[in-house]
Amino acid sequence: MTSTRHILDSEVFHALVRNRVVVILVSTLVIGATLVPGFLEFRTASLGLDRMATLGLVAIGLTVVLIAGQLDLSGGAILALSGIATIGLQSQLGQIPAAIVGLAVGVAAGAVNGFLVVVLRINSLVATLASLLFFRALCHLITESRPISGIDPLFGLIVSRPIGGTFTGRTVLFFAMIVLLHLWLTRAVAGRQLFAVGSNPASAEASGIRSRAYLFGAFVFSGTMAGVAGVIQSLSVNTGSPVFGERIVLVAIAAVVIGGTRLEGGRGSALGTLGGLLTIAALTTAMEYQSVPAYLQDIVTGVILLLLILLDRTVSSSQRRDVTLAALWRRAWASRQLKENERTNAP
């Protein structure tokens, strides 16, 4: 028992846990590379990333909502709804205006969520559950539960064709959004204030931050990202369907949480979400190449998710330390200096 406690308290263990996204991503890649031939080829990576892009856009929106201490279950339904608008309005409005309307649907749907949570003060879990049912039903009502197809299948190539033979348009968009989100969360005042709102809305309010505006904005952003994902997905397959994105939010939440963002709010990062998404993409690709049945894949993802949040809990309930890689390096450096000083002073 004392030895376990010792291991749990050791600095190396803390460092491993704190940087677990990197650890688990590298180990997934190593396992994938040893089991699957051609796993590290560029083409495999490009394909895997392309498939992850839609999920990634939803996860970017969720990262912001989760940091603000809220939850958004409605992303998948918003995705389907804006996809239907994008495809269904093509014949009346033309392709690009229809895509813009699809985007606007995402923004509006996010605003509905924001209204429910911020103005009516409904708990976000229940509020987005209600809007999830509402939007999904709207999709079925508009399309009469049938998938609809667009006017020109070649138009979707904008998002699904590799740019310069490397990554597809949507992959590039996803990476650009991750970088922007990272810069916003770490460099902008508004980004820092979002963390304050997520940790404690009341005290953030007391410090002069307009908490409610941030919460509302978080939901609009999440809805918009789901809208972007919906436009891209429906364009790439030239179809709008009421059943698109049925499981996407659960996977996106898993990716964001694997990336170290906490559901309680106030902690998280864009790069962590990127790590979580890459992990899930690598896992899925590796297991599909090995023809592992879908339900076994679910078990693996679930176990990893559960172990990570359990680890997170174990560590954060013991004492808090700064164990980022930079801090570890500084500390090691400082202790060496100290020892040298002792040596010179001692005699």
Binding site: L125, A127, A130, L133, A137, I309, L310
Partner: protein
């Protein structure tokens, strides 16, 4: 949100707010019955109302467990679809080797184990219930599918099916009697026992309750154990009545149960609400659905009404509480 005041909040509540929150649900149920009777002459027939009750029974059993989760401030149990599927898949998969009754016991026990794991993770390890039950649900459903090979399972015991759908005295189906028995037991457990008192205490103020030497972690764990067990039981009933089960059999039951509990006025913040109110919420939703079906509204678009209903019910509840707290 509001600053702490010296007077107890109950004293400040206006009569309207207090009576409004308590009477809103029964009045709504009466109103919906009236509306239904006006819209369709088939609505108030014995046959139709019995059908409503049968439809309620499967979800209703889950609602009882979910009420405990809500009352103890456990947020929600999202692993319900998985535990329902475990019950349904196991009872039909093991039917040939163990007999229906033995298979049913195994199915409920397996779901209970899943519930106990949830309870341990949420109660003792202190994890966030939403993400925990999401993850455990994925795992449990995966394991259940490994067991049956990821395909649809068919049953071969029409007698058990006949028993559950058969009627006592030619009127009340057996499955409805089972449902009523579970509700009665759940209601007594929450309102008349020490565990029930503890559940309310844990939900209203976990820290003060901890300080009063109440086993907070155990109480919260029991709520999840109960939900898992009851969801498994309802999965068993579902499997036996349909004589077929696929892994996705429980999909949507978690949202239906949450809807019922929320419409029943049980707060997500814990510490209030009763089993009977949650069942009242379920009755209201089911009657509404029934009216829409009788009016020829297709299944999927009914979600529009349900979504508005959930948001509306909670918004009114929140508004009444705030109004009551201020005046």
């Amino acid at each position: 949100m509001s600053a702490p005041t010296s007077q107890p909040r109950v004293m400040q509540q206006s009569v309207f707010a207090r009576q409004g929150t308590r009477l809103a649900l029964p009045i709504s149920i009466v109103l919906i019955l009236l509306v239904g009777a006006l819209l369709s002459d088939k609505f108030l027939t014995l046959q139709n109302l019995t059908n409503v009750l049968i439809n309620m029974s499967i979800v209703g059993i889950i609602v009882v467990g979910m009420t405990f989760v809500f009352v103890t401030r456990g947020l929600a149990d999202l692993s319900v679809p998985a535990t329902v599927a475990v019950g349904g898949l196991l009872v039909l998969g093991l039917q040939s080797s163990l007999g229906t009754l033995g298979a049913a016991v195994v199915g409920v026990l397996a779901a209970a184990i899943a519930g106990a794991v949830n309870g341990w993770l949420v109660g003792y390890a202190g994890l966030n219930p939403v993400i925990t039950t999401l993850a455990s649900g994925t795992i449990v459903l995966g394991i259940a599918q490994v067991f049956v090979g990821g395909v649809i399972v068919y049953g071969d015991d029409p007698q058990a099916q006949d028993f559950l759908t058969g009627r006592v005295f030619g009127v009340v189906p057996v499955i409805v009697l089972i449902f009523i028995a579970v509700v009665a037991m759940g209601h007594l457990l929450l309102s008349r026992t020490v565990l029930g008192r503890w559940s309310y205490a844990v939900g209203s103020n976990p820290f003060a309750t901890q300080a009063s030497a109440v086993p907070v972690r155990r109480v919260r764990a029991i709520a999840f154990l109960l939900t898992g067990t009851l969801a498994g039981f309802s999965g068993v009933l579902l499997g036996v009545t349909l004589q077929t089960a696929r892994p996705g059999i429980g999909m949507g039951y978690e949202f239906d149960a949450i809807t019922a509990v929320v419409v029943g006025g049980v707060s997500l913040l814990g510490g209030s609400g009763t089993v009977l109110r949650a069942i009242g919420g379920l009755l209201f939703v089911q009657l509404l659905t029934n009216i829409m079906v009788l009016q020829g509204v297709p299944t999927e678009p009914q979600g529009i009404v349900k979504g508005v209903l959930i948001a509306g019910a909670v918004a009114i509840d929140v508004a009444l509480r705030r109004r009551g707290g201020r005046e």
